[in-house]
């Protein structure tokens, strides 16, 4: 029963409401009476806009006046928009769009030689790829905490991992392996960013081979890749990376162990039924076939030991250039174990202390809490319930778990706070459930709108979560916003975790992509440089570009490989502002923004040659083109830079042959 002190509190609140009500009467009398919309008192504004007291308190918690900064930065994937964005919390303002897998003209990404090279690293099967399905960002970690240096994000569609250097907030590398054909359990980092984990989603013959789908059981496989990150170079090193072959289940989300479970990785799976569709061939549709059984397998991987095995001679096969530990070797070396997990799970989230793993089956009503200590002991004791058809030992479910918490309908993903609570997104119920990890007890739920997927709390997947704020990343918005046509925005709902009861504070429409996961980091951990110093830096290497141009050194040179235009930009002129070439010549533009003033960004657009560069202060870009079309082509600065911005222009003259 409720304690008498809470009763007293409740009575006090009633008394408070009564006094506010009376004050309200007094104010409205003074303020020109009910219905007045011209008044400026809080009460008048509330009345005019139909706001409740709760709305006002939510506004006070989120409103951020001009010049005031946010407390947290949320890095959200842009889904099949193939980008990332940074959102301030609690203001929920979008601060940046960062191009990753898709060319983006504002940032000049994919419109110049250096960024073209980054994008080309991600080409697959001789196809130039101009989009990605960017699901899960992973900030680099040191000792299990975000360190604010790098960010990794995956492309589910064309299995790739991108590295975003937070020093300049640009994508500096894309890696891909021909080993696998799709992925989902990525990007997740180990506690000191030793590795970036990427695991398959839809199995296929490893190495990009063909095999008929009827050979699904024998020829199709999943895999998990451990991409080695070289922090000193800020790059993933494919040569030092390795993979483990997995059975043809659909591996799903993953998480790296931390503290007690450091050295281990956990990956969910679904479709252990190995259904592969065939709805017009007399078989159940893939979705239904994959929902037949009641449990799938949590993959438990000892990556620290796998790292040793991968280096041992004769223990790996190189497939499509990737050192791969074959499935039977992984089993024999004790690298891979399964634990049954409730049907079609989604989230697989290690608790801040690293002792438990929270898994939620989306057709279940529980969060299942696995004890790493139990799992470790069962593995050490070789206490297996059975083996799967590929010989992988299966640990007994009941002995692997610490318990289950009944939460409600459709639990998916879990994040944590600093008080020992977990927050689980409830897809079917469209709610966030708060529960105690220690007691395995539901505390409360808050409805969200609609169909929540991931959720993110402040530093909520690290060893030191903050609580305070949570964003419900809702897949549907239905009736929440003004009608903008059939493609509706997603709805990010900011939830207050600091108040005694969770409450939605703010709805933020996401009208530029479909984010899946996000991470929320303390704003004071992120320290990007605001200008490239000294001028002439290639942001994609972080080094001074060999073609960097200094003021006074601008020139046009004819070399055996074509015409080289060494240009600078400074408010408000292009130097040189006339470039004369002959039809058919190859032209290399080398352009440096020599300014060092904050926010003095210029652009460089060239009519009809599909060129637009963004030249932030000190940045250098190269762009190469063949002047195949004769004519007169204006070139100008696309970023409004000064009073004489329109005059910051010139001519590219291509004389006919």
């Amino acid at each position: 029963m409720r304690s008498s002190s809470s009763k007293a509190r409740a009575i006090a609140v009633v008394a408070g409401i009564a006094s506010i009500t009376l004050a309200g009467v007094a104010c409205s009398r003074r303020g020109g009476g009910p219905g007045s919309v011209t008044g400026t008192s809080t009460l008048d504004l509330m009345k005019a806009r139909g706001l409740t007291e709760a709305d006002v308190s939510a506004a006070l918690k989120t409103y951020t006046p001009s010049g005031k900064k946010d407390e947290y930065l949320t890095f959200a994937g842009g889904g099949h928009g193939g980008f990332m964005m940074i959102i301030g919390v609690p203001s929920m303002r979008i601060l940046r769009h960062i191009a990753v897998f898709s060319p983006e003209s504002w940032q000049g990404y994919g419109y110049g030689d250096q960024s073209d090279k980054v994008l080309a690293e991600g080409d697959r099967h001789n196809h130039k790829l101009t989009w990605g399905d960017s699901h899960h960002p992973a900030l680099s970690e040191s000792k299990g905490d975000y360190d604010g240096e790098y960010l990794f994000i995956n492309d589910k569609a064309n299995p790739r991992i991108a590295v975003v250097d937070l020093k300049h907030m640009v994508t500096t590398q894309i890696v891909t392996s021909g080993l696998i054909e799709s992925e989902h359990g990525a990007a997740f980092v180990t506690p000191n960013t030793e590795y970036v984990i990427e695991s398959t989603q839809y199995p296929a013959p490893l190495g990009g081979r063909y095999a008929p789908i009827e050979k699904y059981d024998t020829d199709y496989r999943g895999a998990v890749i451990f991409w080695k990150f070289d922090r000193a170079k800020g790059r993933i090193d494919p040569e030092r990376s390795f993979a483990i072959e997995l059975p043809p289940y659909m591996q799903d989300l993953s998480d790296a162990g931390k503290l007690d479970s450091d050295g281990w990785a956990f990956i969910n799976s679904f479709n252990t039924e190995r259904a592969y569709g065939g709805d017009k061939e007399g078989k159940p549709p893939l979705e239904s076939g994959a929902s037949k059984n009641d449990m799938d397998y949590l993959h438990v991987i000892n990556w620290r030991q796998a790292e040793q095995v991968a280096q041992a001679p004769g223990k790996t096969k190189t497939i499509a250039g990737m050192r791969t530990i074959p499935l039977d070797t992984a089993v024999n070396e004790g690298l891979l174990h399964f634990v049954p997990e409730p049907k079609s799970p989604h989230g697989c989230d290690v608790t801040p202390d690293g002792r438990d793993i929270v898994v939620a089956g989306k057709l279940d009503t529980h969060a299942t809490v696995y004890s790493f200590a139990n799992i470790k002991k069962l593995i050490d004791d070789k206490k297996f319930e059975a083996k799967d058809p590929y010989g992988v030992p299966i640990l007994p479910f009941a002995e692997s778990i610490r318990g289950q918490t009944e939460l409600g309908l459709g639990p998916l993903h879990t994040q944590f706070d600093d008080k020992g609570n977990a927050y689980t997104s409830m897809f079917l119920e469209s709610a966030v459930a708060k529960w105690s990890v220690k007691d395995l007890k539901l505390i409360e739920k808050v409805p969200v709108h609609y169909n929540i997927g991931h959720l993110v709390s402040a530093e909520g997947d690290t060893v030191n979560p903050d609580g305070k704020y949570l964003i419900a990343m809702n897949k549907w918005s239905i009736d929440r916003f003004d009608n903008v046509g059939p493609l509706l925005p997603q709805n990010f709902q900011l939830v207050d975790l600091a108040a005694p009861k969770m409450r939605v504070l703010y709805d933020m429409p996401i009208g530029l992509g479909e984010p899946h996961y996000a991470q929320m980091i303390k704003a004071d951990k992120i320290h990007p440089e605001q200008v490239y110093k000294p001028a002439g830096i290639d942001p994609y290497t972080g080094q001074r570009d060999p073609f960097a141009v200094e003021g006074g050194q601008e020139r046009i040179e004819r070399r055996p490989d074509g015409v080289h235009v060494f240009m600078t930009e400074v408010r408000s002129h292009l130097t040189p502002d006339i470039v004369r070439v002959k039809q058919g010549e190859t032209v290399h533009f080398h352009i440096t923004n020599v300014e060092q003033a904050l926010d003095a960004t210029h652009g460089f657009a060239l009519d009809s040659y599909n060129v637009n560069l963004s030249l932030e202060p000190g940045k250098h870009s190269n762009v190469t083109l063949v002047a195949d079309q004769p004519g007169v082509f204006p070139m100008y600065c696309t970023e409004f830079c000064s009073a004489l911005h329109l005059e910051m222009a010139g001519y590219f003259l291509v004389e006919p042959k």
Binding site: I17, S28, L43, D294, E406
Partner: protein, 445 residues
Amino acid sequence: MTRGAWSGLALCVVALAAGASARARAPRAPAVQAPARAAPPRPASCRVLSPADDLQAAIDAADAGTTLCLEPGTYPGPVRIDRGIGLWGPREAIVRSSGVGTTVSMTGAGCKLLGLTIQGSGDRFDITDAGVNLSLAEDVRVEGVHVVRATFGIVVERSKRVAVQDCEIVGRAELSIGMRGDAIRLWETEDSTVAGNVVTDSRDVVVWYSPRNHLEGNRVERSRYGTHLMYSRDSVVVRNRYAYNEVGVFVMYSRGITVDDNLMAGATGPAGMGLGLKESGNVVARGNRFIQDDVAVYVDTSPLQPGDFDVLEGNDFRLNQTAIVFHASPRATRITANSFRDNATQVRVDGEGDALGIDWDGNEWDDYRGYDLDRDGTGDVPYEVRSLADDLTARHPSLAFFDGSPVLALVEAAGRVVPLLEPRTILRDRRPRMHPLPLGRDDAS
């Protein structure tokens, strides 16, 4: 304090206010023992087997169309029937699991499993160890079978025209619900009947990817989902008794569902609801009794498809914590001739929405304060629900303590006379009934 305790408290308050007649109608404490089901009659001609015989060998030797009659005693499983053979036995004839795998598997056309007790199964969830499994079966009857302590009870996969009737499935009460399997599970199964079964201490009765099925006269008690329909169109759920489960009936991604004359009582817990509709359309729910549920009916984005329409008619809502919760403003729904009495909250709309856009007509509301001067049996002013209290309790959670109490009613009354706390109308029944509806039949069982 837990939510359960809160709802208990609220129910007490409401029950006290409601008086003795309402209390008398509430179901009693959970300990309902299912009556033992008699085995179907012994077939006129059959080959008799005793526990000394090798059951599997006898099955393998029999021609399709043969029925084997088991004498009382214990027969070791697993048993596999792959063509139209029948097994009959009294309840004392027991097929016992070896502790591994599914105990009785049947496939093909025309199999029968009649009477008998199936005892236990393996305990693996990942391969769905069951008491009885029907796979790729057609025109199969499972009747009067008693399944005890199996991980899953009766699992029917990719089958057609199956009848599961008058079976009794008793789960393992000592396990928490998350550690139990389903009592009955239909997957990719069509045109089948699940009728007259009794399920206790199990997890769910599941109908997934299975169109045109008929569930009638079943009793599901002390389990989780009384019936869970997913992607299962054109199905009928009638005259079932769902008591003390977490959810009575949950209809998800399904269209054309009839839910009539069921009892959905005592649905409590983190998701406690009598009937839940998730993105489902053309659902008709009539003549159901919702008693002592946390939420009697939960509506989330239903109907979803344009042109679809949902109807709630002639249902009895009694002693629920909340009679109807809409996750957001509903549309394309008619709610008529229902009786709402003794609920702590009648209707709630989450997400600051309202239920003004749907058709409320001729319902009976025990908190209606209007009048009927023209004596036509319906109130002369609409019945309205206003949501001041919701806004207040959202801002001041401790106020929930006063839910359903005169204190909050006072604050609400105060709110009506001052601009700051102007209440929002969230539903309007244009013709509220003045007199109780002739509802309130005995239990649906």
